[in-house]
Amino acid sequence: MITKPEMTATEIASAVAGGRMSALAATETALARIKQHDTILNSFTDVTADRARAKARAIDAEIAAGKKVGPLAGVPFAVKNLFDVANLVTRAGSKINRDLSPARRDAALIERMEAAGAVLVGALNMGEYAYDFTGENVHDGPSRNPHDTTRMTGGSSGGSGSAVGAALVPIALGSDTNGSIRVPSSFCGIFGLKPTYGRLSRARSFPFVASLDHLGPLARSVADLALAYDVMQGPDADDGACTTRGVEQVAPLLGQSISGLRIAIAGGHFQKNVFPEAVEAVSRVAKALGATEIVDIPEASRARAAAYVITTTEGASLHLDRLRKRPNDFDPAVRDRLIAGAMVPAPLVDRAQKFRRWYRGQLAEIFKSVDVLLAPATPCTAPKLGQINFTLDGVELPVRASIGIHTQPISFIGLPVVAVPVPLEPLPIGVQIIAAPWREDLALRVAYALEKMGVVSAPSPRGL
């Protein structure tokens, strides 16, 4: 069987398990595509070719021996470079962390992906220490958008968005503290899942904001998201925030009807500061789902403010010693934000965390009468690399600070979200499908239905 670059993980795993394609062929296709396109895209910081070929050969040997293989057999994937990869230094987008010793063990989610047969092919570019919405990096250079390489990928999981958007790999893993899976998914035209806070183990990944950090997959189809998500679930004592809930498989539920679900459009804050593309994307999705009710999310702007305060202060606390000892080795923009974060008075942080509890209660009330909420993933399509401001309704707004305004109030209380790509021309843009805590199944089912209707899809890379 000839491998095609845009094969989904589901297709690859089926072909490999069925003996129609070798895991090594799937791996070589990914490695060749990385070699062909990544000099421009700059999505990878490390390519683990030897390790990948060894893993692929091991899977092929198991199949040849008649052994049963996992649901991701032979599927190439890559991870944001804040995941520990054995024998690589976990740089987390920084210059400073390159002085650390190489990791001795893979991150928990890599272990779970590989236990299911997936093949790690490398580590991906990201914004420094994940404090970023652009995908730019002063040390490694920017990752580039596969639909227009003069544009941002979005951050901070920019390499993850670029690599999947360009179909270098069918699945990548990223992290999302304030939007860092959903923003690159939107700009790069792919699907991204930010699960419920605590759902997936963060063990052996470099943190940013402990009380807001999530890990999750990015992919080119909903079935692939679910496939990866299902194998990564489960408790992990090595992550203090990880749930003790058992695995709740979603892949078998994707095809269930969504006709009984109560779907509403998030109003207020989520309908402000948006470009026409974002309005059009939400409108298309809502129309396809028959959603007309608009639900106001109370105090969402304040929730974004509280998320900002918690982020900047917890981030500053994490990096305090590095700020003292090696301030000139940071990206200056990240350093100056973190120093400012260290100077925020403590009562404001405490109040932000208390507000978080209150706000969570408000959303819990809403989810008594609504199953799924729709909101823009980003206010705009991918801006130009280096772009500082954009003008909206005659008002000039800073790009960096504005990109996450619709994602932050959602991750602030850990709600599960699937970002779905609406393939507008010339650039795609994402919509958030938001569910109540622990109801990833609902968000994924709605995303799957939209994909089947042809309303959302990952477009072929337009800029390569």
Binding site: A306, Y308, Q353
Partner: protein
């Protein structure tokens, strides 16, 4: 001319032994102004005294 936050930045910089070079000060000040403006939004919101903060701790 000294900006209103400069004395504060100087004092916290000393208290935390956190260097702030003169060249960085405008950007640090600008970021701090944003943080404090957003912090005020949180501060202004009245909450019951019994409100628990949200971070999860599992012993």
């Amino acid at each position: 001319m000294a900006e209103p936050l400069d004395d504060y930045i100087e004092a916290v910089s000393k208290a935390l032994a956190l260097p702030v070079e003169e060249a960085w000060r405008p950007a640090v000040r600008a970021n701090l102004e944003v943080s404090l403006r957003l912090g005020r939004l949180v501060d202004e919101f009245a909450l019951p005294d019994e409100t628990e903060p949200a971070p999860i701790f599992t012993a």
